[in-house]
């Protein structure tokens, strides 16, 4: 891990040195990634991978590292030169040449009988920094195969930056009333439920169970589905017409959702897997709605949307409902509101959506400074959900006319489109373990 910080420093030097070089001499086809917030992102080269499917492995690793937004991927064009650098004299790695290409780290993958032998070269120290074998299942190109390769990329990112990547994760969302799942790189989209009236899907931290609400003429109920077996269980602790917006606690033991009775809706807590009595989290006085909960990572606090002040705003309270405080300030008489909080996995910020000129935009609030940042402005942008790295958000946007999912890097502001077929709502990014199925 110490290497990380040294690399960061080295990257600064490398970028400073490389930037003018790139500007002056483009004939070599070397592109030093200065597209966004360059300087602190280590330059990385992924060498071509030999053998069947090697091109695909290299392409996936490069794209995953690129989507991670923490390293500067030195373009494929550089790899020809990189190749000769690796060949070097007498098979020795030509670290100085890699250095001149702007790389502080070089990823070298050799396919083996059971997967891949991955070597990470430290260009500055001119030595091998990490080496590990990764199992990759047979079935080239299958979802499982792709997930295993994503896992290699995520470990690469951890070796280089100290923070695990998020390529090996998935995103739940709703389209036409069915819960779908899609890999974090946009591949392998498929429906998980047959129901045509599902909403608000949420991951259990085990990555194997999901909860969502399911609507019928008799009302809306919470369903918990085991993705491994396909079994669905209805939560029956709170009979009544309205049971919505489920979320699992970080320890996986509890499920919190909004239960509506008459003209009030309150958050209740039940055992996550299995039946048990419901315990009230919020207690409303009169007509009041408390919905869309999100746990703090330590499981002690909870953020949610409440209209106790007259119209919806984001509040935080302890998990027993006490010590409630208004998080999103509002002007008296403001007809617009703020809602749908999602607590960042590092606990430092809460993402939410705020109506600005009548259109929802994705926002974050720093919990220490209470500084609010607006992350979108084009079209209507709703329902942000944090990736487990605490740096990326997935949200819906109609900026191209139909609602699609987009992924935002809140550090750089870089946005990429995740879904290709529209009509999507309510995304939920999986935990790191969200690959059980």
């Amino acid at each position: 891990m110490q290497t990380l910080y040294r690399w960061a420093a080295a990257a600064l030097l490398a970028a400073a040195a490389a930037a003018p070089a790139a500007a002056q001499d483009t004939t070599r086809g070397v592109r030093i990634g200065l597209t966004y917030g360059a300087g602190t992102r280590p330059g990385v080269i992924v060498l071509p991978v030999a053998g069947p499917g090697g091109d695909s492995i290299a392409a996936i690793l490069r794209r995953d590292l690129d989507y991670g937004d923490r390293v500067t991927l030195i373009g494929e064009e550089a790899t020809g030169a990189a190749e000769s650098a690796r060949a070097g004299a007498g098979g020795r790695v030509n670290y100085p040449l890699f250095g001149r290409l702007g790389a502080v780290a070089v990823v070298q993958v050799a396919q083996t009988a059971t997967g891949a032998q991955v070597t990470l070269h430290d260009v500055g120290l001119e030595r091998v920094a990490e080496q590990q074998s990764f199992p990759i299942p047979a079935g080239f190109g299958s979802p499982q195969w792709r997930m295993a390769v994503h896992g290699v990329a995520d470990e690469m990112e951890r070796w280089i930056t100290g923070v695990r990547g998020i390529a090996q994760t998935r995103v739940l969302f709703v389209r036409a009333g069915r819960v779908y799942v899609i890999d974090s790189d946009g591949a392998n989209e498929r429906p998980l439920t047959d129901e045509e009236s599902a909403s608000s899907p949420a991951w259990h931290p085990d990555g194997r169970h999901i909860a969502y609400s399911s609507q019928s003429d008799a009302g809306t109920r919470i369903h918990v589905r085991d993705l491994a077996t396909g079994q669905v269980r209805a939560v029956t602790a709170t009979p009544g017409p309205l049971n919505i917006t489920p979320i699992f606690s970080p320890d996986g033991r509890s499920l919190v959702y909004a239960h509506g009775r008459d003209d009030e809706a309150n958050l209740v807590l039940v055992p996550a897997l299995g039946q048990g009595a419901a315990r009230r989290v919020t207690v409303s006085r009169g007509a009041q709605a408390n919905v869309s909960p999100s746990f703090s990572p330590d499981g002690r606090r909870i953020a949610y949307t409440s209209d106790r002040s007259g119209h919806p705003e984001v509040y935080i309270s302890d998990i027993d409902g006490t010590n409630a405080e208004l998080l999103t300030p509002f002007a008296f008489g403001d007809q617009y509101y703020r809602s749908n909080p999602d607590w960042s996995p590092d606990g430092r910020a809460i993402a939410f959506m705020s109506q600005i000129d009548g259109r929802f935009q994705v926002m974050t609030i720093n919990l220490r400074t209470r500084a609010i940042r607006q992350h979108s402005s084009e079209g209507i942008n709703e329902d942000p959900s944090w990736a487990p790295d605490g740096r990326h958000l997935v949200f819906t946007s109609n900026r191209t006319g139909v609602k699609q999912l987009y992924v935002l890097d809140v550090e750089s502001g870089r946005v990429r489109q995740l879904t290709r077929a529209g009509g999507v709502r309510l995304p939920a990014w999986s935990p790191y373990s969200g690959t059980a199925q």
């Binding site: 009333g177 009236s197 909403s199 608000s200 609400s213 609507q215 003429d217 008799a218 009302g219 809306t220 017409p241 309205l242 919505i244 917006t245 909004a258 509506g260 008459d262 003209d263 009030e264 809706a265 007509a287 709605a289 919905v291 869309s292 949307t305 209209d307 119209h311 919806p312 007809q335 509101y337 809602s339 749908n340 959506m353 009548g358 929802f360 709703e382 329902d383 709502r425 309510l426």
Partner: protein
């Protein structure tokens, strides 16, 4: 035919011989003319009576058919009237109430709409209804589920305040999932911020409040 043509001339000759042999002066005898007339008249009377009877039966049948058609028409009219009456009651029961943006309080117009339903609910004690709350497409999808619920609850609360048993009124929220009007303008939004009323049971034969 061949056999008959040979026999027929023989019979004809025999007949001519018989007639010639009987011809002689005839005595003055009063012919039984009246007897012949009476029989003819009887046959005529009988024929006339039969005709009259047939005509009577025909008229009777026509009258019966007219009466049957008339009765049928009256019945149909009354069924149609009954249907119209029922339809009117059902329409009154089904008419939606509308809400302001992000609000669940009843407007005076909404209360007037609900006031028309109250006598029907009172007159039909077996009638059970479901109130479905809806929102427009703005706002949070998730919060709108709660808002729809509150709109339905608001309508129910008013009916209960007018003496209708709460147990006869179910409520459900569809949030923004089932818009009544498509479009993204105030006209569509206004039509979508509503509570709808649906008869769950006891609506087959509704009694008018006046009856």
């Amino acid at each position: 035919m061949i056999r008959y043509s040979r026999v027929a001339p023989v019979l004809l000759l025999a007949g001519m011989v018989t007639v010639g042999a009987c011809r002689r002066p005839e005595p003055e005898v009063v012919p039984p003319a009246p007897a012949i007339d009476t029989a003819a008249e009887r046959r005529a009377r009988e024929a006339a009576a039969a005709a009259a009877e047939a005509e009577r039966r025909r008229l009777e049948a026509e009258a019966a058919e007219r009466a049957r058609l008339e009765a049928e028409r009256r019945r149909a009219d009354s069924v149609a009237a009954e249907n119209r009456r029922m339809e009117s009651l059902r329409t009154t029961m089904a008419s939606a109430v509308y809400f302001d943006f992000d609000r669940s309080e009843l407007t005076s117009q909404a209360r007037a709409t609900l006031d028309q339903k109250v006598p029907i609910l009172r007159a039909n004690t077996n009638l059970r209804i479901r109130v479905a709350g809806h929102t427009d497409e703005r706002g949070s999808d998730e919060y709108n589920m709660a808002l729809g619920q509150r709109r339905a609850a608001s309508a129910r609360r008013y009916l209960v305040s007018q003496g209708i048993a709460e147990g006869r009124i179910d409520i459900v929220s569809y949030g923004e999932d089932r818009p009544a009007a498509m479009g993204s303008d105030e006209s569509a939004w206004a039509q979508n911020r509503r509570a709808e009323f649906e008869i769950v049971s006891g609506g087959d034969r509704l009694v008018s409040p006046s009856q």
